[in-house]
C-alpha cells in the first residue's frame, strides 16, 4: 500500500487498485513484462493476494485523500457479486469490474466478449453495490458499442476503455515467444490511437461517463482522450516512461494547455471532437 500512497503523493487524483480475486493468485512465471520499441508487453496473470489479505492491507491506507477504486475480477456472476460486497466493505469509493484481461484464462476477455454475460454480471454487482460501478472493457472485440450498451443496460455508472491489446513478441534467436504465457497485453504509447478510437465510439454509443486509458504519457495525450469523450483518465505504463512523477507532470501539462487556449474548464472539452 506504500506504493499507492506514493502515487497519491505524486499528484494522482484517484487510484485504481490491481485487480483482486477471491483467492490469492501467483500469476505467471517470468518473463511477465518486456519493453518493445513502442510500448510494453505484459502477461502478469492477475497476481493478487486475494480479497481477504488485500482488505487487511487496504486498511492502512484508508481513509485516503483521493478516491480509491477497487478493481475486481471473477469467473462468474456469483464471484463478482461476492467480491463486490467484500471490496465495498473495505471502504473504497467505487468498483471497477475487470471484464477484459487479455491473457488470463476464464476470468478475462472470455466473459468480456459476451454482451449477455456482461449485462448479467453488471446487474448482479449493481444489486449489491451502494457505490458507483465502472466496467473496464477490452479493445479486442469486433462490436464494442454493443458491449458498452450491455454494460449500460446492466446498470453501470461508467465505462473504462481500454484494457491492453492482445499481442505477442518472439525472440528470433531462441525461436520462442518471450513471455512465459506466450500471449500478452500491449500497453504504452503504441496503443493510444486504439484507445482513442474506442473511447470515441463508446461516446457515441452511451451517455455514461467514460474513463479513458491506454498509452497516455503526456498532458496532450490526456486532452486527446478527453476530446474523444473521456471524463477522466488512467495512467499505467507512463510510470515507466516518466517515473512516478508522471501524475503531476500530466496535470501541469493539461493546465498549461488550458491556459494557452484560454479555456477555464476541462468539462467543456469532454467529447468536443464529436461536435
Amino acid at each position: 500500500m506504500g506504493g499507492i500512497q506514493r502515487i497519491i503523493d505524486n499528484g494522482a487524483g484517484g487510484i485504481v487498485t490491481k485487480s483482486i480475486g477471491l483467492e490469492s493468485r501467483k500469476g505467471y512465471l517470468n518473463p511477465t513484462t518486456i519493453e518493445l520499441e513502442h510500448g510494453i508487453l505484459n502477461a502478469m496473470g492477475l497476481p493478487n493476494p486475494g480479497i481477504q489479505a488485500f482488505t487487511h492491507e487496504l486498511q492502512n491506507l484508508l481513509p485516503a485523500s483521493v478516491p480509491i477504486i477497487g478493481s475486481i475480477y471473477g469467473k462468474n456472476t456469483q464471484e463478482f457479486q461476492n467480491l463486490a460486497q467484500q471490496m465495498q466493505a473495505t471502504g473504497v469509493h467505487a468498483l471497477e469490474l475487470n471484464l477484459s484481461c487479455p491473457h488470463a484464462k476464464h476470468v478475462g476477455l472470455e466473459t468480456g466478449c459476451d454482451p449477455v454475460l456482461i449485462q448479467r454480471i453488471v446487474a448482479s454487482v449493481k444489486s449489491v453495490a451502494g457505490i458507483p460501478v465502472f466496467v473496464k472493457l477490452s479493445p479486442n472485440v469486433t462490436d464494442l458499442p454493443q458491449l458498452v450498451q450491455a454494460a449500460e443496460q446492466g446498470g453501470a455508472d461508467g465505462i473504462v476503455l481500454i484494457n491492453t491489446v492482445k499481442a505477442m513478441a518472439i525472440d528470433i534467436e531462441t525461436q520462442r515467444p518471450i513471455l512465459s504465457n506466450k500471449h500478452g497485453g500491449y500497453s504504452g504509447k503504441a496503443i493510444k490511437p486504439i484507445g482513442i478510437r474506442c473511447v470515441y465510439d463508446a461516446y457515441e454509443a452511451t451517455d455514461l461517463p467514460i474513463i479513458g486509458v491506454g498509452g497516455i504519457t503526456t498532458g496532450l495525450d490526456a486532452l486527446e482522450y478527453i476530446q474523444a469523450g473521456a471524463s477522466a483518465i488512467q495512467i499505467g505504463s507512463a510510470v515507466y516512461y516518466r517515473g512516478v512523477e508522471v501524475f503531476s507532470h500530466i496535470c501541469k501539462e493539461i493546465n498549461e494547455w488550458l491556459q494557452n487556449h484560454h479555456q477555464h474548464s476541462l468539462k467543456n472539452l469532454v467529447g468536443v471532437a464529436h461536435e
Partner: protein, 259 residues
C-alpha cells in the same frame, strides 16, 4: 530497450559445490550493485546481481536453490540466455574508509563493489561470512584487490569461527569506518544496522521481481520504494523506515511471508 538481450554463455565456472559463475558478452555499462533479469528460455526469468564487470563481458554468480537456478546450473558454454537490464541504482560511496560485509551469496554482489572502491582509491576492509568452509568463494579474488579480507564461518571450519555480525561487533570497537556496504541474508543486514550505531550504511535488498521496471508493484517496500528501480541499494535512513526490512517479504501473489 528493456527486453532480453539474448547472448551465448562464454564460460561457466564452478565456485563451490552449489555455486557457479556464468560469464556472457554484454557490452553495456553496468555498475556494481545493479542487477539483471536473467531469462532462461522455457523456464523462468530471475534477478541476479552483477558479479564481474569488464568492458565487454559481465557475469553473475548464483547458488542452486530453486527450479530456475537449478536450470541455470545445468547450462553449458554456448547455451543461450537473455539479459534484461541492468536494473537498479548501483553503489555510490560517500566516505574514504569503507567496510564491506557480505553474507553467503551476497558476497557475489559485494566483490565487484570492492574492486570498484579500490579503483577509486578507497581504503577497503572486507568481511565475508559463510556457513562452512565449502561455501567460501571469491576469497582469492578479494585478496588480490589489495583489500583487507577476513572470512568467518558459522561452524569454524575456516577463518574466524562465528557469525559475521559477531566479528563486526568486535571490529567496530577498535576500528572506525566512514561507511558500510552490505549484502546478504536480511536478518544479518538488519543486525548489522543495529550494531553499527550511526555509521552511514547501504544494504542491497532482494525481493521477488516481476517487471523489474517499476510498474507492477511486486517489489515495493516502505512508502512505495521499488527495489527494482529505487533500490536495490538503500541507505540506513530509508531502511529504518521500512517495516518489511528483516521482517517480511512477499510471494508471487503479493502475500506477506515472514523472513
Amino acid at each position: 530497450m528493456n527486453t532480453p538481450y539474448v547472448t551465448p554463455i562464454l564460460q561457466v565456472t564452478t565456485e563451490t559445490p552449489t555455486m557457479k559463475t556464468i560469464t556472457f558478452n554484454f557490452p553495456f555499462t553496468t555498475l556494481p550493485g545493479q542487477f539483471y533479469m536473467i531469462w532462461i528460455p522455457g523456464v523462468d526469468e530471475i534477478p541476479m546481481s552483477v558479479s564481474y564487470i569488464e568492458e565487454k563481458q559481465k557475469a553473475f554468480t548464483f547458488r542452486k536453490v530453486g527450479e530456475a537456478t537449478q536450470a541455470l546450473f545445468r547450462l553449458k558454454k554456448g547455451g543461450l540466455i537473455g539479459i534484461r537490464g541492468p536494473h537498479g541504482n548501483g553503489v555510490q560511496y560517500h566516505g574514504k574508509n569503507l567496510l564491506f560485509v557480505g553474507g553467503g551469496t551476497g558476497i557475489a554482489m559485494i566483490t565487484p563493489a570492492v574492486e570498484y572502491a579500490l579503483q577509486q582509491g578507497k581504503k577497503t576492509t572486507v568481511v565475508i561470512g559463510v556457513r562452512t568452509k565449502n561455501d567460501v568463494f571469491f576469497e582469492q579474488r578479494l585478496q588480490q584487490t589489495g583489500a583487507t579480507v577476513v572470512v568467518t564461518t558459522d561452524d569454524g571450519t575456516y577463518g574466524k569461527k562465528g557469525f559475521v555480525t559477531d566479528y563486526i561487533k568486535t571490529l567496530l570497537q577498535t576500528t572506525s569506518f566512514d561507511e558500510i556496504l552490505t549484502c546478504g541474508p536480511e536478518q544479518m543486514m538488519k543486525q548489522l544496522l543495529t550494531i553499527s550505531d550511526r555509521i552511514p550504511l547501504q544494504a542491497s535488498l532482494e525481493r521477488y521481481m516481476k517487471c523489474a521496471i517499476g510498474l507492477c508493484g511486486q517489489c515495493c517496500v516502505g512508502k512505495g520504494y521499488r527495489v527494482c528501480i529505487d533500490g536495490p541499494i538503500f541507505s540506513r535512513e530509508l531502511l529504518e523506515t521500512f517495516p518489511e526490512f528483516g521482517v517480511f517479504t512477499r510471494d508471487a501473489s503479493g502475500k506477506k511471508i515472514p523472513i
